[in-house]
């Protein structure tokens, strides 16, 4: 059993598990932090961005000044942003049988895998994961495609040139494999390969392996996966949460008794408490608006935004914000808000109960009805007519490199009355802000990451007791910025096995058993004998049938009647098949009883001699001797088959067959 690690990003994993005869890809996360190296894509021509100076080498050589621009001491690539794909060379991806998706954030690389690697397998995901994943992809494609950029920089990627660049460009990994965004056509084709599954559904792969998604509590439809055969169990934990937000709670019990537990997707901000962050978010928002400033919240179109809107729903009136407009701007804003209301079966109990009434599970329905929350596909069109300040704007993309958020950064960045509040934990906010410096706007960092923290993980591991834990190497040491915090790492026994990008791990367990069915007719013919207290044995001789990786034992066929008719017999017809094996024997033969038995069966003139290791029983009349030792019996006789067979059967009476 092997694990091929194709992504080094701990929260955007992409691993391939080879288990029995199947090849299973676990998630295909897309590392978008690569886009931080690029200049933002403004919706409206931005003089500031287009007038940034080109970058030149220390010796004054300016041959890169078309591709690289400098802003407040940072260097950015002036090109269509590109993403860091999972490793595609480590394993032939056309051999992948299935891809299991655990949540909508972990499927963003799917079109690259399914459309460009010869992949012909099946993808499994829950319905909310697919629907919301589609929205995230649609938004991404839309953000990139609506501002076509003529330039596609590639010179800087040359290894010899990259060495000369300043950090972080110099240290960016695998830049030659960075790719531009996919198209909507590729997205549709990729999504059409997905088979919808539900929590606790058992899915058979080729009869060899069973996979089951379990609720992971992190997002709508988010799942962990069990990959198991009858005797081995691998748990794949990815993006799980124990907090009570909107999704169904995490199913922990089903993770028990795993041979291997692969642990990814822990919180990226282990030191921040999500509840505290939400409080800070609300108070900073209120403070800014009261002072007449605007609030910008860079966000994804689904997920935490539902919780934020719910908090604001309770907070707005008490904070006196009833007259402040809240705008949600995304090409998929409407769909996201609508979809959130129809997944009753994937929600926490409280929200489910509301649906039974029947009422919409999320209160943003009411915010929309009362006109407090308005949503628009983009800043163009209706929004420009309705736009009132001060206001609160939720919009993407959290990297601040594309999407409507770029416009608001340019628009509001110069005034210290305004605030940008970062809630999404995927991007370093300082790096995100770099191309907008110098900035007068206030920046508040309230990362809300509901995924498991290290205390919760160690409790979880104690509870479910996996034999082995496998995790990204980042989790086996404290974060680089807090190297003294030994509590911010995974602590388990035996120590977790760690992986990094492009590594292949041999997982430490050996398969020993496989399930086989004994047909009822055969089972009836078996005669178990108790060998030791509580342990019975039965020898089995049967015909093995294997079909679709399922094994069945059937009773041996009755010996065919000897061919009738006068057909001439060939000599070889009599030759016994040496494949018909006799059972092994065990036990020992007590000499005295054996001799008594012989006498009972009409043998006389029996003589017993003692030897160093046992006895020799002589049948003088028949010129036959039987050597009996602890672990062996040797019958030496003349060629009298009848006699030999009689003696054999008498000896066998004292022995057990296996």
């Amino acid at each position: 059993m092997k694990l091929y690690c194709l992504s080094g990003h701990p929260t955007l994993p992409c691993n391939v598990l080879k288990f029995k005869s199947t090849t299973v890809m676990l998630d295909c996360g897309l590392d978008m932090t690569s886009t931080l190296n690029f200049l933002p894509l403004p919706l409206v021509q931005s003089p500031r961005l287009s007038n940034l100076p080109g970058w030149s080498l220390k010796d004054g050589n300016a041959f890169l000044d078309k591709e690289l621009k400098e802003c407040s001491g940072h260097v950015f690539v002036d090109s269509v942003p590109e993403f860091c794909l999972p490793e595609t060379e480590l394993i032939d991806l056309s051999t992948v049988d299935v891809i299991l998706i655990s949540n909508y954030h972990c499927m963003m690389a799917l079109p690259y895998i399914t459309e460009h690697t010869g992949f012909t397998g099946m993808v499994y995901a829950t319905e909310p994961t697919v629907q919301i994943g589609r929205l995230l992809m649609e938004e991404l494609v839309n953000f990139i495609e609506r501002v076509p950029k003529a330039q596609s920089a590639s010179l800087w990627k040359n290894k010899d040139i990259q060495r000369l660049l300043p950090s972080p460009l110099k240290d960016a990994v695998e830049v030659s494999t960075w790719r531009r965004c996919y198209t909507m056509q590729e997205v549709n084709s990729a999504l059409s390969k997905i088979q919808l599954v539900g929590y606790s559904q058992k899915i058979e792969l080729f009869g060899a392996v069973q996979v089951t998604p379990l609720s992971s509590g992190y997002a709508l439809g988010s799942s962990n996966w069990i990959i198991q055969s009858h005797y081995e169990k691998v748990s794949y934990v990815s993006g799980s949460s124990l907090l009570t937000t909107h999704p169904q709670p995490m199913d922990q019990a089903s993770l028990k008794n795993s041979d291997v537990l692969i642990l990814t997707g822990l919180t990226q901000i282990p030191t921040a408490n999500p509840d505290g962050m939400v409080g800070e978010f609300c108070s900073n928002l209120a403070l800014t608006v009261r002072n007449g400033g605007n609030v910008l919240v860079p966000c994804y179109p689904s997920g935490v935004i539902y919780d934020l809107l719910e908090c604001l729903y309770q907070y707005i009136d008490s904070a006196g914000l009833s007259n402040i407009p809240f705008y949600f701007i995304s090409p998929v804003a409407n769909s996201s808000l609508e979809f959130s209301q129809i997944f009753a079966e994937w929600l926490c109990h409280n929200k489910q109960t509301k649906v039974y009434l029947p009422e919409p599970p999320f209160p943003h329905a009411e915010l929309i009805q009362t006109n407090k929350l308005k949503h628009y596909p983009s800043i163009h069109g209706d929004f420009s007519n309705d736009f009132r300040q001060p206001c609160v704007v939720f919009t993407g993309h959290p990297s601040l490199r594309f999407g409507d958020v770029v416009h608001f950064m340019e628009l509001w960045g110069k005034s210290s009355l305004n605030t940008v509040i970062f809630t999404e934990p995927d991007f370093s906010y300082l790096e995100a802000l770099a191309p907008y410096q110098p900035l007068a706007m206030k920046c508040i960092y309230c990362p809300i990451d509901t995924r498991l923290n290290f205390i919760q993980v160690s409790k979880l591991l104690k509870e479910v007791q996996p034999l082995h834990v496998v995790c990204p190497e980042q989790y086996t040491q404290p974060p680089p910025a807090q190297s003294h915090r030994m509590d911010l790492m995974i602590d388990c026994q035996p120590p977790a096995m760690s992986y990094r990008r492009a590594e292949v791990l041999a997982l430490p367990f050996k398969r020993r058993y496989e399930k086989i069915e004994i047909m009822p007719e055969l089972a009836d013919s078996l005669v178990p004998m108790e060998i030791k207290p509580g342990i019975s044995l039965a020898t089995v001789s049967a015909v093995l049938h294997t079909k679709d990786n399922k094994h069945v034992l059937q009773p041996p066929p009755r010996p065919a009647p000897p061919p009738s008719g006068k057909k001439r017999k060939r000599a070889s017809d009599d030759i016994p098949d040496c494949q018909v094996l006799k059972p092994l024997l065990s036990g020992s033969i007590p000499v005295e009883q054996f001799v008594q038995t012989l006498e009972k069966h009409g043998f006389s003139d029996i003589k017993v001699e003692d030897t160093a290791k046992g006895h020799i029983v002589l049948l003088q009349e028949a010129e036959t001797l039987i050597q009996i030792e602890e672990d062996s019996t040797h019958i030496i006789c003349d060629n009298d088959e009848m006699l030999r067979v009689r003696l054999r059967d008498l000896v066998l009476k004292f022995l057990q067959k296996f």
């Binding site: 089995v540 065990s586 036990g587």
Partner: protein, 600 residues
Amino acid sequence: MPDIRVTPLGAGQDVGRSCILVSIAGKNVMLDCGMHMGFNDDRRFPDFSYITRNGRLTDFLDCVIISHFHLDHCGALPYFSEMVGYDGPIYMTHPTQAICPILLEDYRKIAVDKKGEANFFTSQMIKDCMKKVVAVRLHQTVQVDDELEIKAYYAGHVLGAAMFQIKVGSESVVYTGDYNMTPDRHLGAAWIDKCRPNLLITESTYATTIRDSKRCRERDFLKKVHETVERGGKVLIPVFALGRAQELCILLETFWERMNLKAPIYFSTGLTEKANHYYKLFITWTNQKIRKTFVQRNMFEFKHIKAFDRAFADNPGPMVVFATPGMLHAGQSLQIFRKWAGNEKNMVIMPGYCVQGTVGHKILSGQRKLEMEGRQVLEVKMQVEYMSFSAHADAKGIMQLVGQAEPESVLLVHGEAKKMEFLKQKIEQEFRVNCYMPANGETVTLPTSPSIPVGISLGLLKREMAQGLLPDTRKPRLLHGTLIVKDSSFRLVSSEQALKELGLAEHQLRFTCRVQLHDSRKEQETATRVYSHLKSILKDHCVQHLPDGSVTVESILVQAAAHSEDPGTKVLLVSWTYQDEELGSYLTALLKKGLPQAPS
């Protein structure tokens, strides 16, 4: 011999009061718990005393499964759980769990408030009963206990309707509830995988009907409604609040829109708006088209259909009214029917099946003079039309489902005996499986022979598979091993491993036979002759001539020695272990016959 036993307490050769007991591998499951619309006495509920006379139901039943929210499938549930007494789990889908209590409450109100029945279940009982419900999702494998698992499949029919697979070990039963094999305007078609159950229990409402194309039926329906409205008549369509109602609403809504019609359409009960809310929130249970477009246009927001007020019934002019309940056995639909029945311009369209004893059934069977309460006689002059819009599978659909699931046998419920008989023959002919149709209280017993799962050591299995995957039918290879039974775990291992595990030593049993040969040549030459003789006969075996002069066949050793007394005789010592018994015995017999004359 283990077996599966099935006893219908209701819906055996009948429609209504669905309730079927299934015993499978020692587990007892009750499928549905319905009421009968045709009765108002004891017969309306299943006879639960059949299950156990003295014991508690909870001890006897492992679980109860409700297929969908129609009252003939769940109407007796509060009576069963709260009045008779059952505290075990009750499984149903989320939409069923949401809608079921509302219909039960509605049913209770009609029975208690309108008909003044005493000793009926109370609102509190409905609430307490629903607390015992465990919601399941489609395709989720629910582990009722360590052995019993159930799984729901999409059934169409109404929102949240499901078919259920009940499985213990390798034995399984599938119960369809009510289902529909053709997608309609708001629901998808039922689907099940090739799960090969021991038994498929299927409804058979339309066992003999092969319905004409749905489009024709719809056109017909619209034409009749349109004509009646055009000539100023009123159209009454008795429906149940959830289910066909939404289907027909969508149909009329789009027709009104397209034809730009002005006649009002009403929907009778306050339930409607609520009902439509359920459809909006559970839109994932509707058909693909509605799911795909719901963000742009929600099909359950109707422009032309408005809430009905009792006073509207006397308004002049044409109108279309959807009124509950669907079989004209009580409530608003019956009230409106009485008002409009006398006018031949009007029309009543029965869009679904009507149970015997209901007014709906009477007028459909041609009765035009109805005896109402208080000896009143109501003369029916309005036109009566029947159009099968019930979302049940027709004969073709039932056959299709049987083909999908590939059961070993089929059992029919929820249909009329005569029609069942016809379908039974058809199924037995086409699929060559047994088909049963027990009456209520009658038990069908099916013997099963489950295979026994054991763990085989991978070493043994691989050794065996390496010998060739395809068994030769003429000369099948035998697998030998030892089955170790310990603490009810079964493991099949190689004999060597079994010995080792139990700490036992192998006992070697060896035979050596002396065979005398007339041969005056030297021992070495005799050995060579034996070698070439054996080599020529035993072509499939490994025959070797070793440097020390001995000959081996597989692991059997043949040595030539001089005779102590007779130089013209040589003694062959043939030695083998018990494991080579057949071959050793064969060799001695062969050698005893002597060697062929050596070519000189």
